[in-house]
């Protein structure tokens, strides 16, 4: 299951609060804290398969919401546009640095870079 960590982390980031407390706990321990199923099972006093079932159910529930709403897809579709803005602002900054040395343009291109990095967080 751990080969899908990126997707799982995204699902959990967006939809984690829709899970039950137990689903949240196991999912977090497994994907974010990187514990093994056996470790989580031992701590919780249940079987390894039991832990696995809880995590799989959590994943299914979150994936179903995503399949219906497409919200993560929507967020990710913003990325190339943010990259394009970032690259354009960097190029303006370079042109200004080489040719015009306008301090206000430097300020403004830095501001765009800062705002983009906030949006990308």
């Amino acid at each position: 299951m751990k080969n899908q960590t990126y997707r799982m982390t995204m699902l959990f980031d967006f939809y984690g609060e829709l899970l039950t407390e137990r689903q949240k706990e196991f999912f977090d321990l497994y994907y974010n804290e990187d514990l093994s199923l056996a470790e989580i099972a031992e701590n919780a006093g249940i079987s390894r398969q039991g832990v696995r079932d809880v995590i799989v159910r959590a994943e299914t529930a979150m994936q179903e919401v995503e399949d219906k709403t497409g919200i993560i897809k929507r967020f990710e579709a913003q990325r190339p546009h943010m990259d394009a803005i970032e690259a354009a602002a960097a190029e303006v900054k370079t042109i200004n640095f080489r040719r015009y040395e306008d301090p206000r343009v430097t300020e403004l291109t830095d501001l765009i870079a800062k705002e983009i990095s906030i949006l990308k967080e």
Copy 2:
């Protein structure tokens, strides 16, 4: 209920696909198509109160998801950053137009404006 149309439209845009077919239909007719409860009731052959109940339940379901996930809030928090980028790019464009007339800078600031407008859609 219709004084909350903006909020309802946002909820429906993000979470509408989590509703039942009937909830979706009534919600859409009421908030997007601007039919009255009485009109929807007449078409559906049920009481005005019945229609109202379906719509209120749909709203509650979507608001609960939003209260847990905060996804719409997250989208809306991007807005001031996009506005700041848009304003900065417009100012660079103006400075360039007045002082330097660098065609590549014009191109790049136009590109930033275009990409921001896509992000804001």
